[in-house]
Each structure stands twice: as C-alpha cells, then as structure tokens.
Symmetry: C2
Subunit: 286 residues, 2 copies
C-alpha cells in the first residue's frame, strides 16, 4: 500500500519541496497538492514536477488528503493548523517539519478534530537557501529525523509519519519534545547565535578606519556560512525556543569564560587540555 | 634574476612545504634546503621533491643561503633564529610565516647580525592538517599575505619578501604588526576560541544520560571543523597573542550578551535586525 493517496504540503520551499520530490520519486504518493501564499513559487513547483497542483486557500487545499505536511515557517504552523482543522478528512494524519517542538506540539494537539491526529516531527537537514528552487530529493538522505509523539498520539498515525521519513531516507528517532528542544538548541540554535554574533562583532570592530571583515579568509567564511541563513526564520526560532536557547547560550558562555581565563593567565597546560578535549570530541563526530 | 640561489626552509610542514613547492614550480629557487627535527618528515620531503636536501642542524642548514623561511610553530621562531643568526651569510633575508607578529618581530629584529635583515610575514592560509604530506603548491593561491615591515627593514629585503609571496600567488598587504595581530585575532583566533568552546560546551551538556554531540548534523560539523586544528599550535597562539585575543573575546561577548537579552525579552524586531545585519555583512564577503 502506498504511503498516501493524496498528500497536502503547506509551504513548498526547501523542506516541503524536498520531501515532495523524494516521496514522488519513491512512487509512494498518488497526488501531491501544494499550498502556499506565493503563487509564482507554487507555479514553479508545478513546472518542476514537485507537486501536481496547488491551492492558495489552505482549507480547500487539504480537502480529501490523508496526509498533511506543514512546512511553513515554524511560528506559522499552529495558526495554519487552526485554519485547516475544520477541513481535514477523517483519519487524516498531520505532521510538521518545525525545528521547535515542545510549545508547538502543545499548541497543535488540541486543535485536531476527533478521528485525526497530529504528530510533531523535525528533519535535521537544511541549507542556508530557501524556496522550491533550492529543494532537492536527497536533502534528507542519511540525516536524522526526530519525531516527538505524546500520550495522545495514535499508533497508526505514528507509524505513517515514521514510514514517511524512512522513505525520505532519514534515520528516525523518537524522543519527547522537551529533550528535542534542548538538543537542537545545542547543536543548531546555539551555533547560529554564535555565528551571527561573531560576524556582527568582527564587522563592528572599530579601532581601525576600515572594516576588518574584508581580511577574512576561507576558514572564517566557512565558519560563518550559517550566518547567511534567513533572519526571519531565526527570529522565529529564537522567539519560540527562548528558554532552551538561553540555557545553551549560558552554558557556552561558561566554557568561553573559562577559556578567556586560561588565555589571561597564560595557562599553557590548561589551554592545551581545553583545545585537545575539543579536538577529540570534534574528531569523534567526523 | 631568480628569487634565490639557495633557500633554507626551517620546518617543512604544511606552510613551509607548500611554499617550497610553489617556488620550485615557478623555477625561482635554484636549491632548497630543508631543516627540521623529524628526520622521516625531511626524508619524505626529499622523496616528494619538495626540497633538494636536508639538514637537522639549523646553523649548518642555513649556510650560504640568501633567503631563509622560518615555518616552525610560532613560539619556536625566535629561538630558532637565535640559533641560526651566527651562521647567516651577509645579505641574507630571513622571513617567517608565524600567525602572531608584534611580539615576534620585536624579539627577532635585535637578533639579526649586521648586513642581514628580518621581515615578518603571515600568509593567511592553511588547513586543519599538518606535515609535508599535507602541503600543496596552490595553498596560497588567491590568499592574502600580510607583511609587517618596521623602521629597521631595508628596502631590498622587503622587496625580496614581497616578491616571494607574489610568486606564491598571494595578494600581499603591508601593515604594522600591532594592527596585524588585532585583525587575525578577529578573523582567525576568535573563531577558533569560539569553535573550541562550542564543541566543549555541547559535549559537556549533561542534563541527559548521553552525549548530545551525536545528534549533530552537517551544519554543526562544518561550523566546528576548525576545532579539529592542532591543539599545540593554538595553545601557542593563545599564549603569544593573548591581549588581542582577549580584546576580541570581550568584544564578541558584548554582542553575544546583547543577543541573549534580545532572546530573553522576546524582542522580535531586535532579533530580526541583529540577524539581518549579520547576514548582510556575511553575504558581502562571499
């Protein structure tokens, strides 16, 4: 049995478009309906064969779908769900790709009509690009996808979402939403906060009468690539995952402050140990 | 006229080996003598054709050379120079590739015998690898090299060092050593301090009974690649460029602290502005 007879994808950009591409390639979805606000992007998605047809009205777009994937900016997911909830077919499974889960799942579950089910999900994949033109079918290959079921999640819905992400090529992991939010705060949100701050600090250094950013070499450019990510997306993530992000920022600051003390004290053995521990950890995830 | 009849390279690793390769390729050096402590590395350099012959005694190795390139770890440069100074031929030009300049140039200049000249230099290039096997002739192509002459530098020596780095394919910039140290502290040393701290912080997060580093995706790995760099090298840089590094760490911490306040206050407009400014600066150096 195929995964879905009719799937609706709300937000046909990098994430939504890439998922549609791979599921179509797998022959697992009979029809894909794209939903979004920007008509040229939806037209482009049809041209590219990413979706079969599109609909700008979310409620109309999800009609008859047995699977809905919400791939809008994370702060819009709950409000989109509120709009489409009355139009969902019985048995429909709704899932999302938002990078913050605890507050989102708590907001979404109560919106679901009887006989339908919401399952939170987050594929840990992406690039600094956006829009359907940036999507590609192997975006998720070999990546992790975290699914955050709750006591309200029904087994059938959970299996469907797990299968969807396995078909997309991800390694599916289930955990509670609270833990998810701490983990992504550490491995994704914190590095972005650091990279954005680093670029602003270096560009803002004003002891010379020129921007010293222009002296940056390949290492700096690679290191700060993630500071090219969409500001609006990161604003929303910072707003939605504030407590976990602040916890990680403080945790980072403790380590950074300790390193500063080592530098100030000219502590040769301490510096060697600090850098060697980091290198060992980093090399272990190569 | 060729750049050099006999060039001595002290420390035939990534930097020294790569410079030897490109100058040989350009046909600009008649003979290259490698000097170092690790005989197998020197033998390998001869096998690879990077150097013509080697010598483990520095003083003997530089005899008759008109150009000496010091590519040892930065903290060893002054003590190597102290050893070779008595053996330098009249007219010999000595330069280095150390990534810290102010304290180094101050230590090196007084060591030079009359009729010879030291010129500080720093090619802003490198990878996280080391040893002659990691060297390649295009390492410097299109990169910047900063030369830090002083009032004591003679014109002929300066021209020779500038020409050497132009032959290597770099864009040569001259500035005073103090400014150099602030610039590299910002664009290179600070990112390394940040990356090392980030990896240690994420690996050290202990609220769950597993290391959350294992959940890291491509973005985190790219971002923290520089934390794989040689701990001993970075210990030395932190020891030698402490004041500039601390200044930049504090400057970064101000921006990072401001961002934390924006997150804490849920300041939507402030977050958008902070991220957008960073993206604009970052995209300008693409």
């Amino acid at each position: 049995m195929s995964l879905s007879k009719r799937m609706a994808v709300v937000g046909v950009g990098l994430i939504g478009g890439s998922l549609a591409r791979i599921l179509r390639q797998q022959g697992e979805v009979d029809e894909i309906v794209g939903i979004g606000r920007t008509e040229p992007n939806l037209q482009r998605a049809v041209e590219l064969g990413v979706i079969d047809r599109y609909c700008q009205d979310p409620c109309q777009g999800v009609q008859g779908a047995d699977l809905v994937f919400l791939a809008t900016p994370v702060c819009a997911i709950a409000s989109v769900l509120e709009k489409i909830a009355p139009c969902l077919a019985p048995g429909c499974v709704v899932t999302d790709g938002g990078s913050v889960k605890e507050s989102l799942v708590a907001a979404c579950e109560p919106l679901m009509p009887a006989g339908t089910c919401f399952v939170g999900g987050h594929p840990i994949a992406g690039t600094e690009k956006s829009g359907v033109d940036a999507s590609f079918s192997t975006l998720f290959t070999g990546k992790r996808c975290i699914i955050t079921p709750t006591g309200n999640t029904d087994e059938r819905a959970l299996r469907k979402v797990v299968r969807m992400w396995e078909l997309a090529g991800t390694d599916v992991i289930q955990m509670d939403a609270h833990k998810h939010d701490r983990i992504v705060a550490a491995i994704s949100h914190l590095p972005h906060m650091v990279a954005y701050s680093l670029v602003n600090a270096v560009d803002g250094y004003d002891r010379f009468d020129e921007s010293i950013l222009k002296y940056s070499a390949g290492g700096f450019r690679d290191f700060t690539r993630i500071a090219s990510s969409d500001p609006a997306m990161w604003r929303d993530i910072a707003l939605m995952n504030g407590p976990a992000i602040m916890e990680m920022m403080d945790f980072f600051s403790d380590f950074f402050g300790h390193l500063r003390t080592l530098v100030e004290n000219g502590d040769s053995a301490g510096l060697q140990k600090f850098f060697a521990e980091s290198k060992r950890s980093r090399d272990a995830i190569l």
